[in-house]
């Protein structure tokens, strides 16, 4: 579906991302969503904003993907009792986003079958909405009782295992409620939100320039993807064009981030099937990437290197040689290790068939990112909507149809190798010149967007500008919003001891969705 096929007046959003914006009445929202869904489009993000300080009501923002690119609807809502027709029956991924929007802004999704809270636990009471404009960000409430009605599975021999929020390993906090019979998982219910630390409210106290550091800390493992998406959004609203050398470096950084995360996960996937050899080998390689990151860019995870307007630091000249050497070294080592993983009967026995998300279910529920590609959804922003410098690189997408842990392992291997190829190609064509340009002024009330294929999937930043180049509202969207609910489906019928393995094969962000 192209933008012309939608019965709306949409304005192109300036900047690198192919995006359109339209104000649509609440009555039209469901029809538009259904049309997009029918033509194979997807929901990327849904968030709200409070416009009452401007004499208006509230607004719902929905970002969808169609063939032309990203289309963002803004739906104006009433001042009193803001409500809108929910879209979770059309896009199941909307369910938790709608519930979160209620917890933070008090905007009610009509017809949403699930009315339970999502991001609110015991830190603030019902009826208090922290993202409303009149809310004091320094407010502290006395703790309220945190009751959450989990769905109960009943029947002979069914029992529950509650896990978390403090887990057994070094991972982020969340609660998992397993209903099992014997060793088999009948149902998993997640409860997230534990790391909610007020990111979006905090953003509203910052200038556009200051927001970059915060965006880079929404989910630390994806700091490059967030920083780039944020920079795109700011460049979009300020009419700034980042210089070519900066854009080339950004892509190198993004691929380095993809590589180190995939290496780390491949190591842990080995570890989780008692192949400690894999952990040590891959974490040795990962450490080599991190050390070179530190040497060339001043930070092991590349935090704060990308800034709105360009990049904050140049790579030393010797960097090209060193990155090329690393690329050859990794290529050899990863190929050897892949051979070992492929032939290791014990590992393959655990990988194959575990945690399947059939392609049809993945498409229906909106699985995204690398997990989506492992379930046959050929979707990668670097291929579908390549922004410079990806437009000249012909990125080869890794996909698989088997949809299990083995498929996600395979996609990671392919993507590491492809990222190495991309880094080589980028280094060969690295342009010279300025690395950062000053930001222009942004018109208050304007809207910008950033959209980047991070290692886990697509990261989106929705940005609404306030007075004097300040952030009025910033919504960072992690692909984990889409994939967490599908993990619940992936584990059904598997045995409990395979949960850590399946979970790791997705490796979703808690912080990125808890905000």
């Amino acid at each position: 579906m192209r933008i012309e096929d939608l019965p709306i007046e949409a304005e192109p959003v300036p900047g690198a991302v192919p995006a359109w914006h339209a104000v649509v009445p609440a009555g039209q929202l469901r029809d538009l969503c259904s049309r997009v869904k029918e033509k194979g489009g997807r929901l990327v993000a849904l968030w709200g904003s409070d416009e009452t300080d401007r004499g208006e009501g509230y607004a719902l923002h929905v970002a969808l993907v169609i063939r032309s690119g990203l289309v963002c609807f803004t739906v104006p809502l009433a001042h009193d009792h803001p409500r809108y027709p929910g879209v979770a029956d059309i896009f199941p991924a909307a369910d938790r986003m709608q519930r979160a929007t209620y917890d933070l802004l008090g905007m009610h999704a009509r017809g949403n079958p699930d009315h339970r809270k999502w991001l609110r636990h015991g830190a603030w009471p019902a009826g208090v909405f922290p993202l409303r404009k009149g809310y004091d960000p320094g407010a502290v409430h006395s703790r309220v009782e945190d009751r959450y009605p989990f769905v109960r599975v009943e029947g002979e021999g069914v029992h529950e295992i509650p896990v978390g929020p403090v887990h057994a390993g070094t991972i982020e906090p969340g609660h998992f409620r397993f209903s099992i019979v014997g060793e088999f998982i009948l149902r998993l219910e997640e409860r997230l939100g534990y790391t909610h630390k007020g990111v979006e409210k905090l953003a509203e106290t910052m200038t556009l320039a200051e927001g970059a550091r915060l965006a880079g800390r929404v989910s630390g493992d994806s700091t490059v993807a967030y920083a780039w998406a944020y920079a795109q959004a700011v460049e979009s609203v300020t009419g700034t064009e980042p210089p070519a050398p900066a854009v080339w470096l950004r892509a190198i950084l993004l691929e380095l981030e993809r590589i180190h995360n995939h290496l780390g996960d491949l190591g842990y996937l080995g570890n989780d099937v008692a192949l400690a050899f894999g952990f040590f080998q891959f974490w040795r390689l990962k450490e080599q990437v991190l050390r070179l990151n530190q040497e060339l860019f001043g930070h092991r995870y590349l935090m704060d290197v990308i800034v709105p307007g360009g990049v904050a630091r140049d790579m030393p000249l010797a960097g090209i040689e060193k990155l090329l050497d690393l690329a050859s070294h990794l290529e050899r080592e990863v190929a050897t290790l892949r051979g070992i993983y492929d032939e290791h009967a014990g590992a393959q026995d655990r990988f194959i068939g575990a945690g399947r998300v059939a392609p049809s279910l993945a498409a229906e529920l909106g699985l995204t990112g690398l997990a989506g590609r492992a379930s046959g959804l050929a979707w990668d922003l670097r291929v579908e909507y390549p922004v410079p410098p990806y437009d000249g690189l012909e990125v080869r997408m890794a996909t698989h149809r088997n949809s299990d842990v083995a498929a996600r392992v395979s996609v990671r291997f392919d993507e590491v190798l492809e990222s190495l190829r991309l880094i080589r190609a980028l280094l060969r064509a690295l342009p010279a010149g300025d690395l950062v340009v000053p930001l222009g002024g942004a018109r208050p009330g304007s809207f910008g967007v950033g959209w980047v294929e991070g290692w886990r999937g697509e990261v989106l930043i929705g940005l609404h500008v306030g007075e004097q180049n300040r952030i009025r509202r910033m919504h960072p969207h992690d692909p984990s919003w889409q994939n967490w609910p599908i993990l619940e489906r992936a584990v059904i019928g598997n045995i409990v001891p395979d949960f850590p393995l399946i979970n790791k094969s997705f490796n979703l962000s808690y912080s990125g969705q808890d905000l």
Binding site: P137, V140, R143, T195, H196, K197, R213, G220, D221, E287
Partner: protein
Amino acid sequence: MYQLLKQIVKTGIVTERPPAPDEALRVARQRLDEEILRIFGRSLAIRHVDAGSCNGCELEIHATNSPYYNLEGLGIRFVASPRHADLLLVTGPVSRHMEVALKRTYEATPDPKLVVALGDCGCTGGIFGESYASCGRVANVIPVDVAVPGCPPAPLAIMQGILTAISAPVSAPRVR
């Protein structure tokens, strides 16, 4: 199997020397007497608690187990339950949603116990500070012995923090 063994031999041992303790990281007077420290000695069980981090600090905790640092080689290992732990390694600003869980984890850890707060967020609340959703630094919620700054702190800094916590003070401790 041949490939696997060949890779092990080819890789050799990459582990580097551990860092020395650093008194500047200590925020509370050493609470354990020397006798207990001698017993903890070089066999320490750590329970990690993410109390609300951005997950950047977790990446570096994982890295301490990589063969370059090999924390386990020092007899220091991560355990699955606070009941088994001598030391809590806490990351993040403490989100208000994690406040109760962190306190309970602290209470579930048998005495004598140590707490190391990790990262700029753990030390001061970092960029997230204190708000309706964040309690700020770890010391606002449970007693902290050693605080390791950095965003995130590098593996050597984390190891140094842990080693500082389990060593007797060599000079007058700094109390913040």
